[in-house]
């Protein structure tokens, strides 16, 4: 792990292990945990499309997920009850699989995106994750009170003249961009595991919101560190090891 070859990937994943559980708590608050899978699949499709047309895959993935996050609200009336995420998930998956099936380079990247390619993260990816982490911590701190208020007292929120769209739309965009970045680094299921399981456990066990955020963060980071060491020691792909480890932690705690 201390080998320089693995230090950059380890730090990249560590940043995401802090970011994703916190983001997951707010997605779970809004009953939108399925969004994590949806944005990850859209990001994967966007990355593959970018590769096929000769653009940087990371930029393609982030742009596609960003567009999905920003555009989701336009269709929210017709696609209520989480249907928008199901549509994005299916569309992203179908697009990614078709691109991978019809382009040899896309096929290789497709496998990497779905299996998780954390060990191939470079310093540019680490820099992106570090910037995203700082931004996420600042923005979630800013949005937190209003996201909670809009969920618990939607009428009070509206009559106080607070506008829902900058807060909720801003959060959608934030979630899409950060999930795209996470998908590019640790794969679709690795990112989803960190977004889903730590908040799920924290919501069951925590005494209050603040301790819930902290508990989700601790579970995410400990799970990530253990999975990184295990996957490296056993020479296994990182994504599935992380997912299995988080499931075991989940079953023990839940």
């Amino acid at each position: 792990m201390w080998n320089e070859l693995f230090l950059v990937p380890f730090l990249t994943g560590l940043g995401l292990a802090v970011l994703l559980p916190l983001l997951g708590c707010y997605l779970r608050l809004r009953d939108e945990w399925l969004a994590a899978l949806a944005y990850s699949h859209v990001a994967a499709a966007g990355a593959l499309l970018a590769l096929v047309v000769g653009l940087p895959p990371t930029a393609g993935g982030i742009a596609a997920a960003g567009l999905a996050g920003a555009g989701k609200r336009l269709f929210s009336r017709r696609l209520s009850g989480g249907a928008s995420y199901a549509v994005l998930l299916l569309g992203g998956w179908a697009g990614a699989v078709l691109l991978a099936a019809n382009h040899p380079m896309a096929e290789r990247l497709g496998h990497a995106l779905f299996d998780g390619q954390l060990y191939f993260s470079g310093s540019d990816q680490l820099a992106l994750v570090a910037i995203a982490l700082v931004l996420a911590l600042l923005l979630l701190r800013l949005l937190s009170k209003n996201l909670l208020l809009a969920h618990v007292y939607p009428d009070f929120f509206r009559i106080r003249g607070l506008r829902a769209w900058p807060i909720q739309g801003g959060f959608d965009l934030l979630a899409a961009l950060f999930l795209a970045l996470a998908t590019m680094s640790m794969g679709v299921m690795g990112a989803f595991g960190l977004v889903f399981i730590p908040p799920w456990l924290a919501f069951r066990r925590a005494r209050n919101w603040r301790s819930g955020l902290l508990l989700a963060l601790v579970i995410g980071v400990l799970g990530y560190v253990a999975a990184f060491a295990l996957a490296l020691g056993l020479d296994q792909p990182f994504g599935p090891v992380l997912a299995l480890l988080l499931i075991v932690i989940g079953l023990v705690i839940a």
Partner: protein
Amino acid sequence: MNSLLRAEGLVAGWQKPATQAVDFSLAAGEVVGLTGPNGVGKSTLLAAFAGRARIFSGRIEQQKGLRLALQTQDIPPVVGLPLSGRELLALTGAGAAGLPPWLAGRIDMRLDRLSGGQRHYLALWAILQAPADLVLLDEPTNNLDAAGVAHLTAHLRERAEAGAGVVVVSHDAAFVETVCDRVVLLGAGDVE
């Protein structure tokens, strides 16, 4: 008298009109009850005062810069959410001072681990104590026992004495009679 809210010939509803034409006024420091049979449009009228329901005819005038707090019959979705009572109050800017003794000691518990009545009162308190000039309450005594109703009654009177206007929709005739300065019986005119 300092009028906070005035409605003239107000007909409100959602897709279609749900109230008859209503004249209404509320002064600062006054508690006014809205009563009447089911379906007469009490909650719709309250929603219209809060700017949520559609106004089909008539008009509403509010004091400039009026801060509103609205309690609806919807139960805040807190089951499965790690949110404590203290955190709930902080969301609306309400304080814990003045809470009844049977609730004050549970303020740091998760809301979904309180009894239904305790949770309801805390959710109500977060609205009652929010910084506001006009407090709109829809069936606030639902799920409350006698101690809860007594505490709510006393607190509403204190809130009014401090200068807030309060509109209460309720089926609880004894509560309305005790707490309100004036009662508007929808469908039957204004009763002093």
